[in-house]
Symmetry: D2
């Protein structure tokens, strides 16, 4: 059976035009004017609607153990929330839990396979470097993994030293892989945290005060320097400082293979949010910064310095002692309350995978900051290209997977936890006005979301064996 | 009758994918996988071929009177040359020959209408400013003209003073029009020319020496300042200095509505070409600069600082005393020889409209400087959007005019005057290696070029009533 | 007879040290520790006092005819006010009132010679350019004039066109002369003024609104471009925009011979002052700008981008219909009231020559923005060097003219028109707190100021035959 | 007895003037025109000569143990060489050889006290950080030491981690001390060295290839970031990269308390020198870079981005197996030959303390790159002010120590090891043309050098108890 989406306005990274779109099997087969309707075709009238490729979120953390609890969305609930938000592909990060990184990959497959409800792939965290690890990184390519992630922060836990990052970058360069980097200055952070605690500073705002923007800016520059020396394609995750994006802009003007990503939370919130009574809700790393940083990041999103708008989705309950009803079951997972007396014990992370597209459309497109084409590029086409999923993912062209979101650009609502499908008890955008919502979502031709109905299924998502990266 | 272009690789400003493309009437009606072939359909096997939207050249001068002669391509021969080079839309500039600028428009229609072989439109030169002119500029919109051009050089001939440009910009801003600017410092040029001549410097290189890059850079900054003050969308034509594109880059980072264009000649040639015995061939304004400028302009093309790659096509014979055979007739038009004893008498301009796409593909795409998608954006989509012709022109989407070029990306040849169809006796790229050539060209569904055969016709081109400009 | 200034703290552009200073005749003859006191020596105990070289103000306008009146300080009253403010050398500008610029020089000598009370020199305004003028500019050197001034604004009155400035610069370059430039965009100003008046905007703030900062910034860049092309030493007068000083900073980093000057009014006041009921007091050109501009100019003063702190002293009465008593005589000179119904008729200019040093010391040195050594450099040493008066002027070294100011750095007072000695009825710094005042002033060894007593005399100032300019 | 230096041209950081200078006791007592000659005065006719304050070299290493040998100049021979080169003050670095840093200070006093022939002081290296060290750093102030040095390179040997440097900076900020930083990226260096050796690359050029400029640039930025966060006055030693000085320039424009130093070797030599057969002579750290870096550093010296021109004097014999005659004795000290088979064993360092002033005068002042006043500022006044020795040192003013060098600016010679007085067997400037040489040198009033005669003495130098640092 085929599906015909009729008379919608199709939006790609460069084009906007009215046409019909035909889905046959798992693929988009035709787009055209007044397409003939094959028999046995489900016809959807999309006049007045906007048709976009399903979103691609390359930065998520599902069921990630942290601080004696676990991020509250697993690959099923997280994928479902993503889908309701118009996203049909999500990549998350494999923890380096075993000596043999191929074992880590296996373990992550086990974690995801039976739960996945949208298509998915993995990045490999490299948090302990050794000769063995060095020799195994190239083997990831045949596992369909072309990206590794390193950290310049979290001393003695996740951090690699500069010399180790340098080595990872050289291996990546030789093997056509992308190096993703969490860039903060670990040393200064550890020091400030210890001092804050010893001075009795336990409130959430100290999370931000002990992770200074200056250190993030500095380490972005350091990482760029390593990228320049090794030639490795380098992708700085969750950028949130004006100085940092300025370094990326300069690096790109210099012609370096440096890419950047930001996330919804870094466009709108500041350290002031951490000072609220419920400030723990905004605890993630890197932390909320200043208005000036927000503006700098917006500009970088608008002018192409940032190529990707992802989420770093890693939700926790605000109050993990009080159950919520999720899919008809009561559930409570320990969350932010763990750190009510010590900001260092507040799990780091927040819900976003389902909010991403709606918020950016309302506050980026509707406000005129970015065009609808840029919206598609930032949220779908660019990440698909960079991470080696294009043209299977990321566009509406014939031959591509029929991952499609039909939007009603005129629909208005008040957003919040009730609307989002994250498995958690709060939403950062609670009460925000939204104009433009997702009506129907297709995953490889199958309609998995229709209004507030869910037709997706556990295990319905496929692992993406990713190919060549592209440096945009 | 329909036409089906089968199994080609379609390239748009953001996408690359293999599909069939169906033309019905003047429009693209469908793109898809294994499209069914309607009866009475002409099927073209495009496997291994590249399908792109027809080129849009927004900077041409056909039959432009200059220095007691006239540019040697008229709207017919120029359009034909453009078509053979894959271009299906060309805009040229109306001279302000009459007090009433609407009379100027009429005159230009008369000049073009019966000759046009591809679709075309006009910009209006404002070279004499008055209250009347000020009041008439807004009327151009209903004439389908949304762009005016001003000059900061050519004192007492084409130049408007800063205060006049300021006024033109305000009118343009109020009326949604684009201000195109030729930016050089007229004052210093006039002075240096007078001195050069009085010192007996008559050779072509003095054309460049009397039009210093510094003055071009300065006036780009001046124009940007006027744009900042008035808010007018401003488009700097034929940029060719490193300093100039740096100013545009900075203006864009500042968020100003400033756009830039460059042309083939400014990527490859320098003042050294003017020092050749046949240096007059390279005489145009602004003049050839330095290697460093070429590199700066390439970079600006690569990083998006320049949005448009046009030509400033304005050919003259190198030796207008010796006829050539063009369309089976002998013809000679006075040309560069007019200035053999005085560089100021050499007609300013050179052939390029037919070379533009082939040269950029071979030296930009094949060399890896730009992607095929950027190629389409720079040569077709961006100019169509900026100048208000999109989505009728500039893309391959269903509903758009079926202006299509089928390329053979593997075909190699030695380029030159024999291959190009310009009505002149020389070509700047004589003997250059080209890989990637135009095989077939469609104008609104009609095949006008097939290999070296011409099926276009005088009067077959339609005037484009252009709509809203877009500031990319 | 000699004078010994004992135990003061001497300050030069680089040194601060406690020593005695001996004046013999017109010169400083010795500085040392415990200098022996020759017989017949006037000994001044300067312990706790600061000894600096007399100020050099290179930008003044005495008895300048404007708008049917004349600036209210002539070479006598202006020099006297300067002296009370610690300044012992003043340069002003010769108007180009005659065809023969040497006649202009003569006329200016007549104007100044019998009035001068401190040492003085002239710059030559070039406001009408011709071959004859071109041939005469080099002759100024033997007149002791090594600096000319041109304007990019005041169309049809003072402005030279870019090509003329280019020629002046080449002549200056060849003859070791400095080109001073008043940089605003004349064209846009004329236009905006005409529009403002025709719209009935007559209030003082329109003086600023019709002279936009953007035009000043642009023309600074234009002038720098001409300087780059000609190699001429170029000195931008009365800089007051953040963008303008940024251009100068960049030019200097590029290694160009570009220098910059600012004045007290541009550090403290903004367009808001023009909006006061007595806004006309702040009318001068260029006009007051914004807080951001003030800060940019302060920074440029602190970091050396500006080498000179002068005044553009050109006072008028605020109410020229009401006499004041000056030197025991009643006097009233038509002033700001001329433009009470039309901002374009308000004489442009304000009193500053006597305020300059006190204000900069209190608000620059005392606030820690600049060091005392920078103070001396900016107000005395640098201008003396740049304009070819060093080491005769601008320092405290043996052999230099004994032009000396003894300051009491601890003395505090409330400043204003009563304290300043300008021949006008208002002061911009009325009521400001001042700490650090001038106690005694010596001109070539003669004490001309002692507290509030005046010992200077009309005709006591000598014309300075200036020598080689220096590009700092 | 007094000394009168008659009729010389005195040069300070801002002034140039002809005068007599009188020395009484250890101090300059007077400068003046035609000073009267006290009886019992030694009169030196200095007409045609240039009189400058004795040089201040704040970066030297005397008798520094390294790689099983020791730098070949001790506090006596090094001081003597310095004096012959016009330098009368030298600071060197205390190694942190003992747990108690006050013990380290004591040890260094013992090393220097009986040898010192010019005035001297110490910086304290902090190469092992602990709570105890943290608590002792402030105690250095009462020892007359207001500067500490840290390293971002030499892992496991000299390097402090970022968090430790951050702490040192905070202590320094609180105690008015200066933090000197050797900025390279230690991690990458260690890695590259290990790889080079394992690949059999043992030649001197690998010293440069394993210490990439990029790492130096990056770590300068990192250090600036730490300085911004802590507010500590920060002084980057021996800067030699274009990118590094650009970072310092930007930091200073931002208003940060960042200072920079460069040394003679970094203005003239490149990695090509290391490729010579005797390349080991140029081995020091950081290594020789590129022509472009040299030019960038020159520019930074000229425009004030670098405030200090020092040496990093740390000489070794080129052939420590062949004795030279020094002060009538044969001596050989193991040197560069130690690393003839392994570049990592070549002692790092080179002779320069005696060359510094002559080379900069000939190639900086005579070439017009810097003025004589800048020369004095860079080599004497600025370092004296920054390191808290001014006005005792660094100027020619009455009351200052009579540390004076009389130069013959016209004397020309071919420079080299024979002329310099370093205790080593080679000179980097062997055979260079020098114009302008040191004739006589006074240390606190005593003539210690007269032509090629030495009147200085072991133990004649005094320890300088340094006071407040100044951030220029």
């Amino acid at each position: 059976m085929a599906t015909l989406i009729k008379s919608g306005t199709l939006i790609t990274a460069s084009d906007t035009f009215e046409a019909d779109l035909l889905i046959e099997g798992e693929k988009i087969s035709q787009i055209g004017i007044n397409l003939k309707i094959p028999s046995d075709t489900h016809v959807i009238d999309a006049s007045g609607k906007v048709i976009m490729p399903g979103g691609v979120d390359v930065h998520t953390h599902f069921a990630l153990p942290m601080f004696n609890t676990i991020s509250s969305d697993d690959h099923y609930t997280g994928h479902k929330a993503a889908a309701f938000g118009g996203t049909t592909t999500a990549l998350d990060f494999i923890s380096q839990d075993y000596d043999d990184i191929l074992d880590c990959v296996k373990a992550w497959h086990q974690k995801a396979r039976e739960k996945a409800a949208i298509d998915y792939g993995f990045h490999m965290n490299i948090t302990k470097f050794s000769k063995k690890v060095a020799s195994q990184i190239p083997l990831l390519r045949q596992e369909g993994i072309n990206s590794v992630k390193v950290f310049t922060a979290y001393n003695d836990r996740l951090r690699l030293m500069d010399g180790e990052i340098f080595q990872v970058m050289r291996i990546a360069k030789e093997n056509g892989m992308l190096v993703m980097v969490h860039a903060e200055n670990g040393d200064v952070i550890e020091l400030l945290i210890a001092e804050a605690l010893s001075n009795g500073h336990t409130q959430p705002e100290w999370h931000a005060l002990t992770r200074p923007a200056d250190g993030a800016v500095e380490s972005v520059n350091r990482v760029i320097s390593l990228s320049r020396q090794t030639g490795a394609a380098t992708y700085i995750v969750h950028m949130n400082t004006r100085g940092g994006v300025d370094h990326v802009r300069a690096a790109r003007e210099e012609g370096l293979a440096v890419l950047g990503e930001t996330c919804p939370q870094y466009l709108f919130f500041t350290i002031d949010n951490l000072r609220r009574q419920d400030g723990a809700k905004w605890i993630c790393s890197p932390p909320m910064r200043s208005k000036s940083d927000n503006e700098g990041v917006w500009k970088a999103l608008m002018d192409g310095t940032m190529q990707v708008f992802a989420t770093d989705h890693c939700p926790f309950f605000y109050d993990g002692t009080t159950p919520i009803v999720y899919e008809n079951e009561e559930i409570a997972i320990p969350g932010k309350e763990l750190g009510k007396d010590d900001f260092t014990k507040i799990p780091n992370g927040l819900p976003a995978v389902g909010d991403r597209l709606l918020v950016l459309w309302s506050y980026g497109v509707n406000s005129g900051k970015i065009t609808p084409n840029q919206f598609v590029a930032l949220t779908s086409t660019n990440p698909a290209k960079i991470f080696g999923m294009y043209p299977q993912k990321g566009t509406l062209m014939p031959g591509s997977d029929a991952d499609i979101a039909i939007w009603d650009p005129e629909n208005e609502l008040e957003y919040g936890v009730k609307y989002a499908h994250h498995r958690t008890d709060y939403n950062l955008f609670e009460g925000w006005k939204i104009k433009g919502t997702v009506e129907k979502v297709f995953l490889r031709g199958k309609m998995i979301v229709d209004g507030n109905q869910w037709f997706g299924e556990k295990g319905g998502g496929k692992f993406l064996h990713r190919k060549e990266i592209t440096v945009l």
